[in-house]
Symmetry: C3
Subunit: 365 residues, 3 copies
């Protein structure tokens, strides 16, 4: 979560996956996410739902970051935060975040970030690979899981198998040399051999491994982020015993649900799919619940930066799920007992089981 006051443009930038300002004559507040935020958040800052953005932002400044964060985060009703610590910017730590919300923090280690930090202090490929192995081993002792954004760095159409050590070494040498020449893009790990090495190294720890799939910012090519492109990797990595959590997935979330249905070690996480689709969150969640067994679907918000995104993500998930379950029970398609049980699975119990957490993830609000 951002620690500092945000000006209106910076605030609006958190409402979109775009890397540019809104087109002339348009605003990102005019979107399902913008409208959902204006529905749920103003009342928590003592305003009317759907009040104009300018009024909301003014009230936000009036109350101050600390108070706004406290009010919105606690209203999200999230008890356990699994936080990817590999994001840039002046953000709160997992512990600060959890403290503000009255919850518990767990770290998710972003593999590419770990590799880049390791490369920053490595003098040779050997040095780098040893440091990376240490870093992953170290992370596995305390983190709740790993995360890969290979989708952004290359796409999900990488070769499925673990790369040979010699190929990894060569790729590491090439990357470090490239980095030495400088330039920001060179600093990022984009080589598919190295990305695969990261994935396999994480998988071998047996910890859950989150994979970005589906939409995100325009750094990625969405058509290379279909989770089905992971099929052969999913097959190959199965013997390691790790669980794979496919994040987001939209608009390929039915494919993610299929993978969760046919592979025992695969899970589908709603991620930012509900937050960004607002009034349509129920329709999107329903599609994910077509093929995916109910023990295989996880809630998360993918929120960062704004406390609003935690609150809106959690609220939309509850509204969406409640709406679907009420309808199915009313139609006689589901029993109410099953509906309650499935709500607990999606909102808390599945994540608790997969990540080995002691307590529930969400509570009623």
């Amino acid at each position: 979560m951002a620690r500092h006051e945000l000006d209106p443009a910076a605030f609006e930038a958190f409402l979109t996956e775009s890397d540019a300002p809104a087109a002339l004559g348009t605003t990102f507040f005019d979107s399902q996410l913008g409208f959902a935020l204006r529905r749920w958040c103003p009342p928590l800052l003592d305003l009317e739902p759907h009040c104009p953005p300018a009024r909301y932002l003014a009230r936000r400044r009036e109350l101050g970051v600390r108070e706004v964060n406290r009010r919105l985060l606690s209203a999200a009703g999230i008890t356990d935060f699994l936080v990817d610590t590999g994001l840039p910017g002046d953000l709160t730590t997992p512990d600060e975040l959890a403290a503000a919300a009255g919850g518990t923090a767990h770290e998710i280690v972003r593999l590419e970030h770990l590799a880049e930090r390791t490369a920053d202090t490595s003098r040779s490929a050997d040095d780098f690979l040893a440091g990376l192995a240490d870093g992953i081993r170290e992370a596995a002792r305390t983190a709740a899981g790993f995360k890969s954004v290979a989708a952004y760095r290359y796409g999900l159409h990488f070769e499925p198998d673990a790369p040979a050590p010699a190929a990894v070494h060569t790729a590491a040498e090439r990357w470090l040399a490239h980095r030495a020449e400088g330039g920001a893009p060179a600093a990022r790990v984009t080589d598919p051999v190295l990305l695969r090495h990261l994935l396999w190294s994480a998988a071998r720890t047996g910890l859950p491994l989150q994979l970005h799939t589906g939409f995100g910012d325009p750094d990625l090519r969405l058509d290379r982020c279909d989770p089905l492109a992971l099929t052969d990797f999913i097959r190959a990595v199965r013997p390691t015993g790790c669980s794979l959590i496919l994040l987001h997935g939209y608009p390929y979330h039915r494919g993610a649900a299929y993978l969760a249905a046919v592979f025992p070690h695969v899970y589908a996480d709603v991620g930012l799919s509900l937050t960004h689709t607002g009034a349509r969150a129920g329709a999107v969640l329903a599609e994910m619940l077509e093929l995916a067994p109910f023990g295989k679907v996880l809630f998360s918000t993918d929120a960062y930066g704004l406390p609003e995104l935690y609150m809106v993500g959690a609220r939309l998930f509850r509204e969406a799920l409640t709406g679907l379950l009420d309808q199915w029970v009313r139609e006689g398609a589901w029993s109410s007992g099953d509906a309650g049980r499935v709500a607990a699975l999606l909102g808390a119990d599945n994540a608790r089981r997969v990540y080995g957490l002691g307590s529930t993830i969400t509570r009623d609000h």
Copy 2:
């Protein structure tokens, strides 16, 4: 349909396309199919809807396979069974199935199965190809159609044209040699040249040809089963005069509907898409009914193994279709006369016309 008593694990395995037991802490009963089964089937066995799986399975054992099959099958209200006879396991014959349901049986010959049975007794490629030609000719005299599972064996991105005889001969020699070396996988036909030869041989008989498209068990790569990958094959095969029936399609069923809309010889069949999506069957069927002309959509259950799957598949189809038609008539978008006519087309008349059957496929229940 399975002839013998099934233990709980074997029963549950029929509720999923997965090839593995459910992940620890989860069950395939917790799925849309599981819940649909628990809605519709228990009352037919004198139990409450949504009773616990263990209670249902106990009652099933109490009544015995014969009685359970009879009750569930007759409740499905299916009058004509088009049965793929190329499935493994101790299953009832089409005639036994139809007799248990009080309906009529028609055979669908699975091409890959025919090829493999022919190869089992062939000493040479010439022998095999002659035997295969005989087998197809023979089948065409009695069967209602052919079916290909090329989707599983290779994917739908095969070359569209009929392979040259010399290429087929070479491929047959290679395959037979491979088989002679032994091993179960070698026994299966996976060579795209041979698969194309099967497809073209079937098409040239002029009989309807069913193609597996979309989801299925994890033997396939779902992203290689998009029916749109068949576009060039569809164009190439058009002059033979055969009808192509695209089965399932999910999650690419809108693409299947598109193909049914623009090519006169293409039909879209709901297959297992409704059975596995349960409470969402109406939503899935609605998507198929966006572009597909109503004379081009067919009902089927893709059921096998459990009598429950026939019952649930038929029941979900009726519920889903009735729900959509009622809504469209209520909104004034459709007339009730048209709605009734379209229901008859999808449930019986289209299949009767395409497969040349004498009587209706479903009756009211």
Copy 3:
């Protein structure tokens, strides 16, 4: 719009994207578009909604083309017509069309058509390329925008960058030589280098550029028309300052909406997606409104040939949008003020801004 009387077969052919008559025993009237037409159009010709097609066609002949066109077009409530003038057949001009409807006409110049007309009178590649440059410059002075059907001619997986002049010259020479040899298909521009040259030439004028994406007639391969295949082209063309309007998109409209969300110069236009999905238009539009900011979605009908298609396209859009907005306001997800504002954006204001039109596009009806 067709100027002459249409016989029943010619009329029915306008209800489908197929290039062949309906399969034996079926009719294109039995489709969502057919039913939508029968809902909305008969009352305008003094008949009952949903009257039989034969009755409707008889009444149409009775009234005559002129009167039918006038009644249906004016009922569409469209004030500004952006008309692609590159379609074959005996069609009304944009001015005639607008006059019949009491609206204003604007021309959209189809790039491939311009290239082909230019080639018809060119003696050499130099001649052709100079003529083409003149034609585009000339068009840019009066037209509201350009349109490309590269989707039909090659697919959307073309190389993203502007082709080098030498490569364009060579491709032009090859095409002209091919044309000289004759044959109708040779007359069409299908070379990806030339298609890219057209796209880049248009983009450099700064005028809006429409791109066919998604479904259409069977000339195209639908799986090569996913708008996401344009991602690298979208990135490359961004510095020119042109706006890209992705037409139709179905069934990949969620991808089009994503592109509109993350790239400031990209817009998503419903095109023929609503007309052809009829009673499902609301569901399809809702999917487009998941990720796309509301300042980035445009209404159009893609109508041509039949006045019915203008009327049905406009009516379905209004019904679909009103249905969604009413629901979201009723649920409290949107405010009614926002709903009214978004309706104006989609129906008129976005198009007015993007194409620089002086007046609104639709009016209440």
